[in-house]
């Protein structure tokens, strides 16, 4: 194993030393700007030690207490090889319980790292040794599953090299770890949202905007107001309080990855954010997607894609000129962005594009799929068009219980999508009208045929439910804290799970311990994923083979949605006849 070279400090010396503050912030070696590639500073081998401790983080002139691993924030890069065994000793030097969850790794449930489901957690001063065989290859990440520690910097990348030859050819690779960070404590952020759901939305519609003929017209504003729905409610926590980061660096710090012109550069892009879905592009440089959530996909070229929280995308870019290229990750509500640079040498900075106009949600985001009508994406809802068919006289109810018999209605369910559409082939939020290519889930096809092609024998609908005014988030109208029953599966059972988004926000939904195949087309090549971003007002289905015995977490990866109750325990047990 290789440990980080420059960080002999422990928490005690950090806290005591008056001069220690100047030393306190440290980025891990892999995230060094001007890096030649992700190989630098990785922890690898069969035995790895991680120390979780207090830290300090600063960017863009703001700084705050953070959580560090081996002295750095974000955490070290762990690089493993498919087929090896690994022992990772995690020592908790915080004053509170901690944990590490290996996001996307297939492992025994007791090693999955979720306190209260997989294991009891790691008490202060204790060391827990995670032991598991490495059965897969690809780009993954890890993070704390305790409290809000992930939001305070406890996250890092994982690369697993394949046992055999890599199907992806590349000359160089860089890890691009996207994150959001606030100097305001995450518990305070959540408190503010509970007090005022729109607290951090500084891009709402205004009277000044109406007079300037921006956004919705008066009639649409009145129609939406009647439903108490806000078409600017795209993100809960925004650039008003967040700094956006690539590898721990903001735009000004300009993380730079080097390349030589003509090289095939593999970018391993991970969204380790607490609350931010990003739209990612490299202006002037097409991207070839080669992997998603660690699973190889058939190469497909695009110009921009949306990365939901906790998803990973590997892309190949081939910068031809000896000039700097910008990598832009823009928050989907366009409240902020971060620029990093790919450059032939250190010291070059690609230009920072201006933020594009804030998108407006439309009818489809409200769960009203009106067929081929092109509406909503530009925020224009024309209700004055002549009626011409069977929908005449029909009033669309936004809280009609009959569309979701499995949902428990109550104060936590403000709306139900009356006509949710399968949106896997839709461009994601904010990218509906951009003039270049945009990746959709329907473009992803697994590289090799999927192993389980059985038709599911059972189906299960799960509604993603919310009330933004009270900042309540739940599945099927029930918060985890309300005594929600686990979602039970039989071992090796194949089930079609349909997620129906009854909210106006995309939700990255993560199932621990499994991959599922997103139903987009031909079953043999449906993309395999561990986290799937369900677009507003829409639905999607995945086929799950419940092949991992034990108890697992299932939740929205917007950390504050999870903490508001959008979470369940999933159980996988031998079937009744096998008992």
């Amino acid at each position: 194993m290789t440990d980080l070279p420059s960080l002999p400090l422990d928490r005690r010396s950090l806290i005591r030393g008056g001069a220690a503050l100047a030393l306190a912030q440290a980025l891990p070696g892999w995230a060094d700007t001007g890096t030649h590639g992700a190989a630098q500073g990785a922890l690898s081998g069969e035995t790895i030690a991680l120390r979780i401790g207090d830290g300090h983080f600063a960017t863009g002139g703001r700084s705050a207490h953070a959580i560090s691993v081996n002295g750095g924030t974000p955490a070290p890069l762990i690089r493993l090889r498919e087929g090896q065994d690994v022992n990772i000793a995690v020592t908790n030097r915080l004053k509170e319980d901690s944990s590490i969850h290996w996001h996307g790794l297939i492992l025994p449930f007791q090693m999955d790292g979720v306190p209260g489901i997989s294991f009891p957690g790691i008490a202060p001063g204790e060391t827990f040794i995670y032991r598991f065989p490495v059965r897969q290859a690809g780009t993954y990440w890890y993070h704390s599953h305790s409290g809000m520690q992930e939001a305070m910097g406890l996250y890092g990348p994982i690369i697993i090299d394949p046992a055999g030859p890599d199907p992806v050819a590349y000359d160089r690779e860089h890890v691009i770890l996207l994150a959001d960070w606030s100097s305001v404590h995450p518990h305070r952020l959540l408190q503010r949202l509970k007090q005022m759901g729109g607290y951090y939305n500084m891009q709402r519609q205004t009277l000044a905007g109406l007079l300037a003929r921006k956004d919705q017209g008066l009639k649409d504003r009145i129609d939406w107001g009647a439903m108490r729905m806000d078409p600017t409610d795209i993100s809960d926590v925004t650039g008003a309080v967040y700094s956006y980061l690539v590898n721990g660096m903001g735009t000004a710090e300009n993380w730079t990855g080097l390349f030589a012109p003509g090289e095939r550069v593999r970018l391993r892009i991970i969204n380790a954010s607490t609350m931010t879905n990003f739209n990612v592009r490299l202006p002037g440089l097409p991207m070839t997607m080669v992997q998603c959530d660690g699973q190889d996909v058939q190469p497909v070229e695009t110009d921009e894609f949306q990365i939901g929280i906790a998803e990973t995308y590997d892309v190949i870019v081939q910068p031809g000129e000896a000039k700097p290229y910008a990598l832009i990750a823009e928050a989907i509500d366009r409240s902020g962005l971060v620029r990093a640079t790919l450059a032939p040498q250190v010291g070059m900075a690609a230009p920072v594009p201006g933020r594009r106009a804030r998108p407006l949600l439309g009818m489809k985001d409200m769960g009203m799929d009106m067929g081929g009508m092109d509406m909503g994406h530009d925020g224009v809802i024309d209700l004055s068009q002549p009626a011409n068919d069977a929908m005449s006289g029909h009033a669309m109810k936004m809280r009609d219980k009959s569309v979701a018999p499995g949902v428990k209605m109550g104060p936590g369910v403000a709306t139900l999508s009356p006509m949710p559409a399968d949106r896997t082939a839709d461009r994601p939020t904010g990218l509906e009208d951009v003039e270049h290519r945009v990746l959709t889930y329907a473009d992803l096809r697994s590289l090799t045929p999927n192993s389980d092609l059985r038709t599911p024998t059972r189906s299960l609908d799960i509604h993603l439910t919310a009330n933004m005014e009270r900042y309540m988030w739940s599945f099927d109208g029930v918060k985890l804290s309300e005594g929600a029953e686990p979602i039970a599966f039989r071992h090796m059972e194949r089930v079609r799970v349909t997620l129906i988004n009854d909210t106006m926000m995309p939700h990255p939904i993560h199932l621990h311990g499994h991959f599922f195949e997103l139903v987009t087309g031909e079953a043999a090549h449906n993309p395999r994923k561990h986290t799937v971003n369900v677009l507003p007002g829409g639905k999607l289905s995945f086929d799950l083979t419940a092949d991992a015995l034990g108890d697992w977490a299932f939740h929205c990866h917007m950390l504050m949605h999870m903490h508001a109750g959008m979470m369940r325990v999933v159980t996988v047990r031998h079937g009744e006849d096998a008992a």
């Binding site: 009891p120 503010r192 081929g372 009626a387 109810k397 369910v413 804290s481």
Partner: protein
């Protein structure tokens, strides 16, 4: 019992307004790409929910139970609070300048909360004319409205009455903040208070708030100077600037008018039945 009838109306209003008329929509082109979701898959029977916890077999069950309790509580069961001084203002009009406050606080979860409300007014150099404090149990009854019940204690000039309170407050369609409270005093007199306000964002931080309050009484209460029927109305228009969401100075204008017998009581006591004042104040919360 007008009060109860109003409460029922208030509760029913949001349900009605949750519909959106689509009769005018163009549904001509229904030929969009249909999803791959296959309705042919049977719903099937889910397995029974296990009664055990898998990790209990591998770790100390007591430690697991503690961690599980914490995990479940963190999944939506946490307690929050908000303490808001909605108005703290200086009033300048004819006669002595005055002051007033109005605030509300709550602590609890998403559904059940303990709430306190307070409001009052007085004149500089004079006395505290009117003040009240309410302690309420508040329960979310639908996505936007809370039902509240508790007690109110009056302070200040005149008899310090105690009341039982039942009320409703919340967010009506079109983003109106509305509230209705019915009071029954320990002397048996009944009163109703209706309030509404609207935040019109001019910019992201500059907000114009029209507000109205209307009071009714079921009977004459001479010792409080209140006549039966509509007793007073108050209209306000306040322009605030949110330096931060939780810190917003404002300026505005306010007009109040005592009505009917209440106005007569006021005139008999040598007071004016109506008053207009300019206000400057602060809205702050944490």
């Amino acid at each position: 019992m007008k009060a109860l009838a109003f409460l029922l109306l208030a509760a029913a209003a949001p349900v009605q307004a949750q519909t959106m008329d689509h009769s005018q929509m163009d549904h001509g082109a229904m030929g969009h790409a249909m999803p791959a979701i296959d309705a042919a898959i049977p719903q099937g029977t889910p397995p029974p929910v296990p009664t055990d916890h898998a990790a209990d077999a591998l770790y100390d069950p007591a430690a697991m139970a503690r961690a599980r309790t914490a995990m479940i509580a963190e999944g939506g069961g946490m307690t929050y609070s908000q303490w808001m001084l909605d108005r703290l203002e200086y009033r300048a009009g004819k006669g002595a300048d005055g002051y007033a406050w109005e605030g509300e606080g709550w602590i609890g979860g998403d559904i059940n909360r303990f709430a306190v409300k307070s409001e009052g007014e007085g004149t500089f150099g004079g006395s505290l004319e009117r003040a009240e404090v309410q302690a309420l149990y508040s329960r979310a009854i639908d996505p936007w409205f809370n039902l509240q019940a508790g007690v109110r204690q009056d302070l200040g000039e005149g008899p310090d009455r105690s009341y039982a309170v039942i009320g409703i407050d919340g967010l009506a369609p079109y983003w109106f903040e509305v509230g209705a409270e019915a009071f029954l005093s320990s002397k048996g007199d009944a009163h109703l208070r209706l309030e509404a306000s609207y935040d019109q964002r001019i910019t992201q931080r500059l907000i114009l708030q029209p507000a109205a309050e209307f009071n009714l009484a079921a009977q004459h209460v001479p010792e409080l100077g209140i006549g039966a029927g509509p007793s007073d109305i108050e209209l306000g228009l306040r322009l605030r600037y949110e330096i931060a969401r939780e810190f917003a100075p404002y300026v505005g204008v306010r007009w109040e008018r005592k009505l009917g017998d209440t106005a007569d009581y006021a005139r008999a006591a040598g007071e004016r039945a109506s008053a207009t004042s300019l206000v400057i104040g602060l809205r702050a919360w944490f």
